[in-house]
Symmetry: C2
DNA sequence: GAGGCTAGTGTCAGCCGCTGACACTTGACA
DNA sequence: TGTCAAGTGTCAGCGGCTGACACTAGCCTC
């Protein structure tokens, strides 16, 4: 904690030690995801992962607090980009619109950040495992809840309201998050695991929020359904 | 599986054996919740719970698949009542309204079902532990996701749409579920742990869905805020 | 009411996730 | 070059959870 602090954070010169650390961590992530998509989450032990990178189990746990954490590391990168994107939205945008655009526009940034660490296809396959593995899904949802908390704070600040006395930021984000999760779920259950498919699903899901909350589905149903599937 | 099947399900005569089972299970739940609220979730081992009921650890795991399950057993009862209530709503109600009324109106049924098993206050205190214990919160969220899936199917059936081709049921339920969770969270973080407080929070949160999704908060903000807290 | 049948239980052994303690190695920096 | 701290391996141990197997106790039939 009382370490020598580099001036700008760590950007200027990684340092040999630091580079090695980064390297092992990345290797652990890659090995973990590889094993997980082939043998399944429960079929992969931490010992397997550690052995694949030739470190001890103890070392694994110095990098990741749990087996879940390593599996959700890459999604975590994506979440980071999204919060950044929300923060960067112009303040005159409506809150819901800001969230919407942030998610839809950060695709490239996410792809780049993820691709630097693991092949994109691997990441996609991991999502399927997440959705179909109870323990992993639970952890993912909890993390999503934390993300929502963070987004609520950002939205509140943007709109100049107090996040504790005005429930709207949290409510908006919760509803939004729920919809995003539906898109994730539909995507991981479907056949087309491409990025475009996910992006398109998110777009259509968000388009359906209004109609879904509408008073009566039966009258205006066919009207607000752009195209099926 | 090829057991002798009682005609009506199990209602007519519980049978001595069956009664004993019910009894141990209830005792396990009660002991578990007692321990959990006093020593915390992580501070309570399955051995502790089993010992308190004077059964072996192995037996505990024959009743509950995991430590989480016993902690979330009572919330599970509440969820059951809610799905029943949704199913019972008149079909001419708008979907969102049906969900809303189902939740707000099943309070008595929930109270009765819960009270038969554990003191209401204990149940309330458990909620606080759930929200503040990562592992437990994760499990809770996963179960909520399952509940949402079930509710989506009910809504879809009600509205005569196909849950797999029309995303609206899932989206509606996801948004609704998100809002309910916000209420739960605010409640468990607040001072007033009464049922009325939770109910009131849910009501106001649901009232805020429209405004929260509205285009611009700054113009109509003060307008749609009934009362603070 | 004695018999067999089966559901439920306890015991035991063991895997796996995860942690604290301690000794050792290796990059950093004077 | 020598000192210091950061990072690692080893070991021992706890707690959640499971399969196997033997035992006990309700149930049902004759």
């Amino acid at each position: 904690m009382d370490t020598v602090r580099t001036v700008v954070g760590a950007l200027p010169r990684p340092g040999l030690r630091e580079r090695k650390k980064q390297q092992t961590r990345d290797a652990l992530v890659r090995a973990a995801l590889d094993l997980i998509v082939t043998r399944g989450y429960d079929g992969t032990t931490v010992d397997d992962i550690a052995a694949a990178v030739d470190v001890s189990q103890r070392t694994f746990f110095r990098y990741f607090a749990s087996k879940e954490e390593v599996a959700l590391f890459v999604p975590g990168l994506a979440e980071q980009r999204i919060t950044e994107a929300v923060r960067a939205r112009p303040r005159d945008e409506a809150p819901l619109e800001a969230l919407r655009r942030a998610v839809l526009d950060s695709w490239d940034a996410i792809g780049e950040a993820v691709g630097r660490l693991v092949p994109m296809e691997l990441h996609m396959r991991v999502y399927r495992v997440i959705e179909s593995t109870p323990a992993l899904l639970a952890a993912h949802l909890r993390r999503s809840a934390e993300l929502e908390e963070e987004l609520a704070a950002i939205i509140a600040a943007r709109e100049g309201v107090d996040v504790d006395s005005d429930p709207r930021p949290r409510i908006l984000v919760a509803a939004f998050g729920g919809v995003i999760r539906v898109a994730e779920r539909l995507w991981s259950a479907g056949d087309d695991l491409s990025e475009e498919a996910l992006r398109e699903l998110m777009r259509t899901c968000l388009d359906h929020v209004g109609p879904a909350l509408a008073a009566n589905w039966r009258t205006d149903a066919s009207l607000n359904r752009p195209h099926e599937t």
